[in-house]
C-alpha cells in the first residue's frame, strides 16, 4: 500500500500548473520507462494475432491454469482475511503480554520470501505438493498483509462507537460489525486484495509445490517451447487479472472519514482464555517462518551439508546478489525522485497519471516483467540482452513503487513553509530545496533504497529469466537446487538469503516499516 500522504494541509499540495516544467517532463519520462514492460508485452502479444489469442485462451489447459490461479488466490485471500482479522482483534482488543513483540512476531512471515518457506517445508516433508500445501503455506506467508493494517485500523477505530451501539441495544457481536467493522473494512479489504495479488504473482512457492498456476504456465511455456506466443498470451492474461485486483484495491482505499475518539482499551481476560487464543496468533509465523527456518537450520547443520558447501560459489552468489541489489536500489531511488517530488507537492490528473504509471510495478508479477523484458531486449536493444542493465531495469520497474511510496511520504512531511522560510532568509528556490527539503527528506531516500535492495535480493522469477550468463543470485541458486530435490545443497543459499534479506528487513525497518514495505 502506498504510504499515506503527510499531514501537510491543503496549502502543501498545489495545482500541477505551478510545477516546474523540467520536473513534469522528468517524472513523465520515468513513468514512461516504467511502463515499458507492460506496453511491450501488449505489443508482443498482439503480434501473435487475434486468431492465436482466441485459440490459446480457449485451450482447456489455459482454463485450468486460470482456475488454479484464481482458486488459490481466492482461497488464500479468504483464509488470510479470516485469520488476519482474528489475530489483529486478539492483539488489539485483548490484554496480551508484550503486545508489540507479538505484533512483530505475527509480521515475521513478511520478511521470508514465499519460496523460502516452501523450501523449508519441503526439507521437512519432501512429498508435500498440490493445492492444499500451496494454500496452507501461502496463507501463512500472506496473513500479515491483513493482520497489520487491520490491527492498525482496530487500534485507531473509536471504541466509543461500539459502546454507543451497545447502549442503544446491540449485542457485542452486532455492535462490532455495525460500529467497528465499517472502520476496519477498508484496511481489511486493502490487505485482502494485496494477499490476492501476491498469490496471483507468486511463482516460486507454487512451482516448488508443483501446483500449476498461470505463473508456472508462463515459465513452462517460455522454457519448454519454441512458440513464445503462448507465454506472452498467458502473461497478458495474468496481468489482466492482476490489474483488475489492483483496481479493486485502489477502490477499497476510498475511506469513510474517520472520527477521532478514545482509542481501544485492551480487555483483561483470564490466562486460560489467552492461552486458547495464542495458537491463533502463532499459526502464521509458525507455519510461515518457524517450521521452514527450523527445517533449513536442521538441514544446514547436517555434517553432509557442511562438508559439501562450495564456498566459492556461495560467495559468488552473495556477491552478485548484493551487487545487483545495490545497483537496483540506486537506480530506483534516482528514478523515483522526480515522481515522488511531483506526487508529494502537486495534484492534478497528469500528476496522478504519472504516479500511477510509476507504481505500475506494483501490479506486475515478476515473471511477467521478466518475460516482457526478454522480448523487449531481444527486439529493441539486442546489445543489452542478457546484460546486468536489463536485469537491473527489471528490478527497478518491479520495485519503483517502494521507493516512490517512501520518498513521497518523506517529501510531503516536509512542510513547504520551511522552504518558504528559507527563501525569506535569502536562499534561491534551488538552495532552499537542497538545503531544507532535500536534507529533511534524505532519510526516506535511504529507507526507499534499502527496501528496493531487500526486495531485489528476494526476487526470483524475473531473475531466472533475465540474469546474464554466469550470474547466479542466492534466489536462483536456491531455486535450481530445490526443484531437483537437492535440499542439502540448497541450504547454504537459503541461509544466506535469510541473513542478507530477511533479517535486515526485520531489524532495520521494524514492525511498521515492515508493514509499509510490503503494503
Amino acid at each position: 500500500m502506498a504510504a499515506e500522504r503527510g499531514t501537510t494541509g491543503r496549502s502543501a499540495v498545489r495545482s500541477l500548473r505551478s510545477a516546474p516544467l523540467w520536473l513534469i517532463v522528468t517524472a513523465a519520462a520515468v513513468a514512461a520507462i516504467a511502463a515499458i514492460p507492460l506496453v511491450y508485452l501488449a505489443v508482443r502479444a498482439s503480434e501473435a494475432g487475434l486468431g492465436t489469442l482466441v485459440e490459446t485462451l480457449g485451450r482447456a489447459r489455459v482454463a485450468q491454469l486460470t482456475i488454479n490461479s484464481l482458486g488459490l488466490a481466492l482461497a488464500v485471500t479468504a483464509s488470510s482475511l479470516l485469520l488476519g482479522t482474528a489475530v489483529a482483534w486478539v492483539l488489539t482488543r485483548l490484554r496480551v503480554p508484550f503486545p508489540r513483540a507479538w505484533l512483530l512476531f505475527s509480521a515475521l512471515p513478511l520478511a521470508v520470501p514465499s519460496y523460502l518457506a516452501s523450501y523449508g517445508w519441503l526439507v521437512v516433508s519432501p512429498s508435500m505438493n498440490g493445492f492444499f500445501a500451496a494454500w496452507l503455506l501461502m496463507t501463512a506467508v500472506c496473513t500479515p498483509y491483513v493482520t497489520l493494517p487491520v490491527a492498525a485500523a482496530l487500534r485507531a477505530a473509536p471504541t466509543d462507537m461500539e459502546g454507543v451501539a451497545r447502549t442503544l441495544g446491540y449485542g457485542p457481536t452486532r455492535a462490532f460489525f455495525v460500529a467497528t467493522w465499517p472502520e476496519v473494512r477498508p484496511a481489511a479489504a486493502a490487505g485482502a486484495l494485496l494477499v490476492c495479488l501476491y498469490t496471483l504473482s507468486d511463482f516460486g512457492l507454487v512451482s516448488m509445490l508443483r501446483f500449476q498456476t498461470l505463473t508456472w504456465g508462463i515459465n513452462a511455456a517460455y522454457g519448454a517451447s519454441f512458440d513464445r506466443n503462448q507465454a506472452a498470451l498467458l502473461a497478458l492474461l495474468l496481468v489482466a487479472i492482476a490489474l483488475v485486483v489492483v483496481a479493486g484495491e485502489r477502490r477499497s482505499r476510498k475511506h469513510i472519514p474517520t472520527v477521532s475518539a478514545r482509542r481501544a482499551r485492551p480487555r483483561q481476560i483470564s490466562k486460560l482464555v489467552l492461552l486458547g487464543f495464542l495458537p491463533l496468533v502463532a499459526a502464521s509465523p509458525i507455519v510461515g517462518v518457524a517450521i521452514p527456518l527450523g527445517g533449513l537450520a536442521a538441514r544446514l547443520l547436517q555434517a553432509e551439508t557442511i562438508r559439501e558447501i562450495d564456498l566459492a560459489r556461495l560467495f559468488a552468489a552473495i556477491g552478485s546478489t548484493l551487487g545487483v541489489a545495490a545497483l537496483a536500489a540506486i537506480v530506483a531511488v534516482i528514478l523515483a525522485l522526480p515522481i515522488a517530488a511531483l506526487a508529494a507537492r502537486y495534484r492534478g490528473t497528469l500528476a496522478t497519471m504519472i504516479e500511477s504509471l510509476g507504481m505500475v510495478g506494483h501490479a506486475l508479477p515478476g515473471i511477467v516483467v521478466g518475460l516482457s523484458l526478454v522480448f523487449f531486449a531481444l527486439a529493441v536493444v539486442p546489445s543489452l540482452y542478457q546484460s546486468v542493465a536489463v536485469l537491473v531495469f527489471g528490478y527497478v520497474v518491479l520495485f519503483l513503487p517502494k521507493s516512490i511510496g517512501t520518498m513521497r511520504a518523506g517529501i510531503s512531511t516536509v512542510s513547504p513553509r520551511l522552504a518558504t522560510v528559507a527563501r525569506t532568509l535569502g536562499l534561491t528556490p534551488w538552495q532552499a530545496w537542497w538545503r531544507v527539503t532535500a536534507r529533511l527528506a534524505l532519510p526516506s531516500v535511504g529507507v526507499g533504497a534499502m527496501l528496493v535492495a531487500i526486495a531485489t535480493m528476494k526476487e526470483l522469477p524475473a531473475t531466472l529469466l533475465l540474469r546474464p550468463t554466469g550470474v547466479t543470485t542466492l534466489a536462483t541458486e536456491l531455486w535450481s537446487r530445490t526443484v531437483i530435490f537437492e535440499f542439502g545443497a540448497a541450504a547454504p543459499y537459503a541461509a544466506a538469503l535469510v541473513l542478507l534479506a530477511a533479517v535486515p528487513a526485520v531489524a532495520l525497518s521494524g514492525v511498521r516499516g515492515l508493514a509499509r514495505e510490503t503494503l
Partner: protein, 356 residues
C-alpha cells in the same frame, strides 16, 4: 425516570485501582455533574454505569434494579442507559437520520421510527438535516445528533461524557444552555462528567467532586462552590485565594486583618495555624464605598487583568502576600494605587500544612 444508586464501587484495570470506593445517590429526573480533573476516574465511572466496564467490587443500581456487581454485569444493551461520548462518535457510514434512529426498534423505514427520528431532529434543532452525512456537520451539530441518538430509545439514564469539551467557547456556552433546557423538559436522569467547573455548576442540580477515584464532595452547585469540603476542592471548583493565619474565636488573623471564617470539617483550637480560603469575588476594594465591610487592610495594586465583564486585581498586602480580587470593571484602580481591601462575607478555614 429512575434514580441511580452507586455504592462502594471499586474498579481495577490491570494492577491499578481506578475507582476506590465510589458512593453516589442520584434522584430520579435529576441532573448530576461529576466534576474532577482528568485521570480522576470519572470516565471510568461513566463506562461502568453504561455497563461497558465490569466492576471489581460494589454495586450499581438503576431504578432499584441492580445492574452491576462484582462478577455480574447486565450487558449495556439491556440496561436502558444512554451514552453520549466525548467526541460525538457518530457512525460515519450512516446518515444523520439513521444515526438518530440507530437504537430504535423496527425496520429502517418503519413509520413509528421515522416519526420518532423527526421528532428528535426537531427537538435538537436539526430539522431537514436527516440525509446529511456526519462529515458534513459542524461540531455543535454533531453533538446534537449524538444527543438525539442517545435520547431516541428513551433511556432511563443518560450519560454525558464531556460532551462540550471539543467545542469552542462561545458555542459551548450556547449549546450548554440549549441542552440544559432540552434535558430539563425531557425529565431524564442525567449524569454529566466534566472537568469544567462552570459547566458542572451551570448545568447540574447536584455536583459530585471526584478525586483519585472517589467522590470527595457532593452537593448543590452553591454548596460545592461556597463551602467546598477541602482546600483542594476549593481550588478545583473555582478560583481560590489562600492566606495563612491563626484561629481566634471564629476569626482568622492574617495579612488581611481579622477575617470572620467557618472552619470546614475540623474544629481548630485557639491560636492554631489555619489556611483562610476566599473567592476573589468575596474581596472588595475600597470598602469605604460599601456599607458593611467586615474588616479591612492596606494594599497596593500590583496587577490588573481586564476581562471585559469583570476584572481581576492583584494586590500586595503589607506582609508581601498577594491576593486577587474580582470586581466589576468600573473605575478600576491604577497600578501602584494604594487602597484598602475588605471581605464581603465570612471566609473558609481549613487545616494548614500537609496536602490540600
Amino acid at each position: 425516570m429512575s434514580g441511580v444508586s452507586i455504592s462502594g464501587l471499586h474498579i481495577s484495570q490491570g494492577n491499578t485501582e481506578v475507582l476506590t470506593g465510589v458512593d453516589l445517590e442520584i434522584e430520579p429526573a435529576s441532573f448530576v455533574a461529576v466534576l474532577g480533573p482528568s485521570g480522576c476516574g470519572k470516565t471510568t465511572l461513566l463506562l461502568s454505569i453504561a455497563g461497558l466496564l465490569p466492576v471489581t467490587a460494589g454495586t450499581i443500581s438503576v431504578g432499584g434494579r441492580q445492574l452491576s456487581a462484582a462478577g455480574t454485569t447486565v450487558p449495556p444493551e439491556k440496561r436502558s442507559v444512554g451514552w453520549m461520548p466525548q467526541e460525538a462518535s457518530l457512525f460515519p457510514h450512516l446518515s444523520v437520520a439513521d444515526n438518530i434512529g440507530f437504537g430504535l426498534p423496527g425496520r429502517r423505514k418503519a413509520a413509528s421510527r421515522t416519526a420518532r427520528v423527526a421528532e428528535l431532529m426537531r427537538l435538537v434543532g436539526l430539522d431537514g438535516y436527516g440525509d446529511r452525512a456526519p462529515s458534513q456537520l459542524s461540531g455543535g451539530q454533531a453533538q446534537r445528533v449524538a444527543l438525539a441518538r442517545a435520547l431516541a430509545p428513551k433511556p432511563d439514564v443518560l450519560l454525558l461524557d464531556e460532551p462540550f469539551a471539543a467545542l469552542d467557547t462561545q458555542l459551548r456556552g450556547s449549546l450548554r444552555q440549549e441542552v440544559s433546557e432540552l434535558l430539563g423538559a425531557q425529565r431524564t436522569t442525567c449524569i454529566l462528567v466534566t472537568h469544567d467547573q462552570e459547566e458542572a455548576l451551570t448545568l447540574a442540580d447536584r455536583v459530585a467532586v471526584m478525586r483519585d477515584g472517589r467522590i470527595v464532595h457532593s452537593g448543590t452547585p452553591s454548596e460545592v462552590y461556597d463551602r467546598p469540603s477541602s482546600r483542594w476542592a476549593a481550588s478545583f471548583v473555582g478560583d481560590a485565594v489562600e492566606l495563612e493565619g491563626r484561629w481566634h474565636a471564629g476569626r482568622v488573623r492574617c495579612a488581611l486583618g481579622s477575617v470572620e471564617a467557618d472552619a470546614v470539617g475540623f474544629d481548630p483550637a485557639e491560636g492554631d495555624v489555619v489556611v483562610l480560603v476566599l473567592r476573589p469575588e468575596w474581596i472588595v476594594l475600597r470598602p469605604e464605598w460599601i456599607a458593611h465591610a467586615v474588616e479591612s487592610a492596606d494594599a497596593r495594586v500590583t496587577g490588573i487583568s481586564y476581562a471585559g465583564h469583570d476584572a481581576l486585581v492583584s494586590c500586595a498586602l503589607s506582609d508581601g502576600s498577594v491576593i486577587r480580587a474580582r470586581i466589576a470593571p468600573f473605575e478600576l484602580p491604577a497600578l501602584g494605587d494604594r487602597l484598602r481591601l475588605a471581605v464581603r462575607r465570612p471566609g473558609l478555614a481549613y487545616p494548614a500544612g500537609a496536602g490540600k
